[in-house]
Symmetry: C2
Subunit: 349 residues, 2 copies
DNA sequence: CTGAAAGCGCTAACAA
DNA sequence: TTGTTAGCGCTTTCAG
């Protein structure tokens, strides 16, 4: 059987297609009773709009997605960007387009950018809130204007954003713990090097690791949880002291992207390969350390997939009316020496 | 600036849109010289067809993709199927549709199914060749009719299929080796349990493991490479004997999906958790063994992503004219206890 | 408040 | 060999 169209509905309702259109889209200038009637018929007929027809009729850009992410294209955000752009390109034919308003770095002037986007008539937003507190009101405002916002990588917890795409930080920590626990002997000591524990994400990763390690490693102990505050020097120094102070240390989990100082410290102290080092994310400079065994494995957030997924959630929702999950945790990938070449960071330059 | 359309071209070439259409699509009834001229103009204008318009005009099914995969929906192939169907649904609006002609099990009557599909006017094919030798000629025939065929999961090496989507078996083996090597002490013994070594895929997985283990595990040795021929009994029996005969065995890699007998053998012999067991793929029955540590990790082929990727390659090629890689190796995922819930097999029932 | 009609860019059938 | 024309299903504008 053929799919019902707007004409079909019009005929059954004994109105014109114009009226049907008004009813379907909540446009003004129609009596409430006729709208009800039309909607009922549409439902009965399981009407779904013909997207190609709509795209054709409305011309360019049926659904504009605003993007506000950091401009730093070198690694992580560049991958997110690529994932978003690639996915949008695939559905351009359906009238999807994007408005790219990046910020120079995470959180830098994002309020202005997002406010701009709201003014540009987008119907959806993808953002990495750098400063959730100041961004939250903007998100509220957007959602009230019926602009769906999807947070990516970092969430805006106190807002009513439509969805979040990213990884589950606690799971990241647990995976790291499981790997360490399997690599080290029972009763071993391990340590966590993180950013600032006041940051929710870092706190959860640590927590996940701590709890996971306690359960996975019989008789294991946590030597320390160090806050490196994303500082290279601090990271290096604290790691050196950690190693010196704990000759029986067998595992280290670095929960931030800032793992190079730790690698250098391990190398300099001559314990590269002796201590199971689990890191986070992936960028080219990590290559040598993964290859020579300093880094045993890395928990990879798959930024490209995050970008792709964010766009998919939105188009599935806005084009096909698919349900959208409130949060979408992606499966962290595990980077080893052998599969290094499989990751975009290492195969696409 | 606005994108050039068929009208624009017609005006510049001083012909009608009908003629432009003929030129653009290699339809008959046009002088070669005018076709050349029109094509040149189109190129200069960077003409890209408006897919929505095309889909609308041509009505249902602009690009029909034929699917011939095993019907066994329980696990692996069910995931492939889901990936394919989901992805097709997302571009249905662009006139993409599929013709599903499954075989009961791998290779069973696939020639007939594929031949059927060729007769049904599809313009692309996604197949899992069960018997590459007999399928290859059909693939040749299809490609000669300008039907692009993508092999999925298993390749048809001697054919000119347009692309292959799956994992690199050798890499699978290497990853397993890296994991085992990291889990066991130096000088440890490991074994491989595989299907039939005459099968290319099994041979390559074993090879990858053997070579990888030799390099990754200092002083390590391979205790045995057992062919279990996908038989439960054989698998169980051989594993028991393997364990009995090698008290110093520290690692086992099962390169087929048939890992349950091995798990049972390890459990029955009381070495569950003592021997690092790396398996392949994922299905619900593996859950308990992953949770209790009998299986240390599994190398997951991500069938859903394979299906999705196959469709994407085809639509990108046929709709957007994107280049298509001759082979597309996906990154095998690593299943651990902690991330078990992230996989579709365990979160979607 | 509702109806009628003109396209959107392309395909396909028919005319010349 | 080429031109003309009628839609595809929807949005939008202009009349009523």
């Amino acid at each position: 059987m053929k799919r019902a169209g707007i004409h079909q509905i019009a005929k059954l309702a004994k109105v014109s297609i114009g009226t049907v259109d008004r009813a379907l889209h909540g446009r003004p200038g129609i009596r409430e009773s006729t709208r009800k009637r039309i909607l009922r018929i549409a439902k009965k007929l399981e009407y779904t709009p013909h997207l190609a027809a709509r795209a054709l009729s409305v011309g360019r850009a049926n659904l504009r997605i605003g993007i506000c992410i950091p401009e730093e294209i070198r690694f992580f955000y560049g991958q997110i960007r690529a994932g978003i752009f690639d996915e949008v390109r695939r559905v351009k034919g359906l009238g999807v387009d994007l408005v790219y308003r990046p910020v120079p770095s995470l959180g830098e002037g994002e309020d202005i950018r997002i406010a701009d986007l709201l003014g540009e008539g987008v119907s959806a937003l993808i953002v990495t809130p750098g400063n959730p507190k100041t961004v939250a009101p903007l998100i509220e405002k957007a959602e009230q204007q019926n602009i769906r916002v999807v947070c990516i990588t970092t969430d805006a917890p106190r807002s009513h954003r439509t969805s979040f795409v990213g990884i589950d930080p606690e799971l990241s920590g647990r995976m790291a713990a499981e790997l360490v626990a399997k690599f080290v002997p029972a009763g071993a000591k391990a340590a966590v090097i993180t950013g600032m524990l006041t940051t929710e994400e870092h706190r959860l990763k640590s927590l996940g690791f701590l709890d996971g390690f306690r359960k996975d490693c019989e008789g294991g102990a946590i030597a320390a949880v160090l806050e490196a505050h994303e500082s290279e020097q601090e990271s290096y120094g604290k790691t050196c002291r950690l190693i010196a102070g704990h000759p029986d240390l067998h595992g280290i989990y670095v929960s931030t992207v800032n793992c190079l100082p730790v690698c250098r410290a391990l190398t300099d102290q001559g314990v590269s390969g002796k201590i199971a080092l689990i890191t986070t994310d992936l960028f080219p400079e990590m290559g040598p350390y993964l290859r020579n065994g300093t880094i045993m494995a890395s928990i990879y957030q798959d930024p490209y997939l995050q970008g792709q997924t964010a766009v998919r959630l939105l188009t599935d929702l806005l084009l096909n009316g698919a349900p959208i999950p409130e949060t979408r945790f992606l499966n962290p990938a595990i980077v080893l020496r052998t599969n290094l070449g499989q990751f975009r960071e290492f195969s696409h330059g």
